[in-house]
């Protein structure tokens, strides 16, 4: 029990360390604040007029989608940070200390979750300012945010694996982008799936992003269709697959 508590304490120390750096690295800070807000404004005011979303104002349609995309990218911090820590010897420093060895990875992903929560709050605030409205109860909205954070955690583990496989911090980040960008765009995040060519439609419908974005719409806007359990299953499933793979990879990398 005391070991478990120490492990939690160590994880919080590492989490704090990972968060402290963000305000000091202008590129990261911009990535987590200005960039998502800019995307919200661009989509609403530039593309919004041209995209048909029957039954919705575009800003209402967009917000669940763009929050999901931002959260999926949150793991970028883990990919870049983990890669840097390995390369610069900080992981060795941590591993020579009497701390829980799991705290290095756990502290990384927990920092992502906290950053994702802050980015979500910021985007919701901007959304509300430009006309976005929740159409459901507070518990439903909170459940939606929790679901998205869980989905983001799954992507943190995917990004962690990228960070452990990549040869540099930069390439760790760009591999992540290469994976997440097509997945988010070929989904219901920004446009209705029905507007895509049939081949893409088939992909978009099976895409976990579509399922999660639809679940977020159900919880934020009260749209019909129940993909909430499927979204939960996808999130947990991705974590169940990628967390052990990333941990195993981490063990192999540090053993050499």
């Amino acid at each position: 029990m005391s070991q478990l508590l120490a492990g939690i304490g160590d994880t919080l120390v590492i989490t704090r360390r990972n968060l402290i750096r963000i305000p000091r690295a202008p590129d990261l800070l911009i990535g987590f604040t200005v960039q998502p807000v800019m995307f919200v404004l661009l989509f609403v005011y530039v593309f919004g007029g041209a995209i048909k979303t029957p039954g919705f104002k575009y800003v209402d349609y967009l917000m669940p989608g763009i929050i999901t995309q931002t959260i999926a990218f949150g793991g970028y911090l883990t990919a870049v940070g983990l890669n840097e820590d390995l390369r610069k010897g900080l992981v060795d420093r941590f591993r020579s200390l009497p701390m829980a060895r799991s705290a290095v990875l756990a502290g990384r992903t927990l920092a992502d979750v906290i950053m994702n929560l802050l980015a979500t709050a910021l985007m919701v605030a901007v959304g509300l300012a430009i006309g976005f409205r929740f159409a459901t109860s507070v518990p439903q909205v909170l459940a939606g945010i929790l679901l998205l954070l869980l989905f983001g955690l799954a992507f943190s583990w995917i990004f962690a694996l990228m960070g452990l496989l990549a040869s540099s911090a930069e390439s760790a980040g760009s591999i992540g982008f290469l994976i997440v960008f097509p997945l988010t765009f070929v989904s219901s995040a920004f446009v209705p799936v029905q507007s895509m060519p049939s081949l893409l439609q088939a992909f978009a419908k099976a895409n976990p992003f579509t399922i999660v974005v639809d679940a977020a719409r159900a919880l934020f806007l009260g749209t019909p269709g129940n993909s909430i359990w499927a979204a939960l299953a996808w999130s947990i499933g991705l974590i169940a697959v990628f967390a052990p793979v990333a941990v195993a990879r981490y063990r192999r990398v540090v053993a050499n």
Partner: protein, 335 residues
Amino acid sequence: MQTLQPSQSLARAVSDEPAIVTQGLSKSYKNVRALTGVDLVVPPGSVFGLLGPNGAGKTTLVRILATLLKPDAGTARVAGYDVVREGGRLRTQIGVAGQYAAVDENLTGFENLEMVGRLYHLGGRVAQSRADELLQHFDLEEAGRRPVKTYSGGMRKRLDLAAALVARPPVIFLDEPTTGLDPRSRVSLWETIERRVAEGSTVLLTTQYLDEADRLADRIAVIDHGRVIAEGTSDELKHQVARERLEVVLGEGADPTVALQALAVMGDGQQPRVEGQVISVSVGRRPGAIVEAVRRLDTARVEIVDVAIRRPTLNDVFFTLTGHKAEESAAGEAE
């Protein structure tokens, strides 16, 4: 080959419970054998120097002792704990400073040390006061609230060493702690290490600087191709391995080859060295060597500026044992 038997000198060292003991420690990477059967005993409260060219296995050895790497064979105990089976408890007893200053660039000096203190489970208040104490000690007080990315190389090295000392660990591993430091910082770092040892810590130090080993280390192991090829005090190594050398500084127009020929009979069979107009011949113990050299060079009409007998240095020990100079070989790629 003048190889000292490690066991001879070890037998004398074992008086107290040793701080570090290794037996038959071996490690291979794919098809490279980094360590082959390393036996060492480091008494507590001493500085133990590991000398060796790059790729000799120094860093591998330190990484195994700091529980960062598992050995393929053999055993090692640090502060009484087995490196494989008791890693968790062992890590409460050690501090590590590496070849690359492993500090977080985005954190301030204070935040770095506080974090390390918390991860040693010192508690928040102790971690903070200890961080302040160390910043002051390492002359980083003013820089302590700035992010480390604004620090010079020397400041990072000092912070890295401070991080290794946060928990006042009984055993400290320093992997090339002064590489890249200016002479003043090196000396002040040496003084810090000496103070820690005076307070009872044991230090295992790898270095490419022989003067550093000479100054700090109570005992030195020379390691090459993953084996300990000699072990003893600095004086023991000098006496048993290296000879006195005759060093001649030639005049500007003099031909080193002619000079070497003139001095050939005085040599003890070891390869003479030539560096520009300075030649150096190993003469063993040879009374009257200076007079004889001057006479021979005069007869050969070689103009000389200076002649001296040099007592062996660790550099000579290293050269004799491994066939190359320490600093040259270590200046290349990282291990």
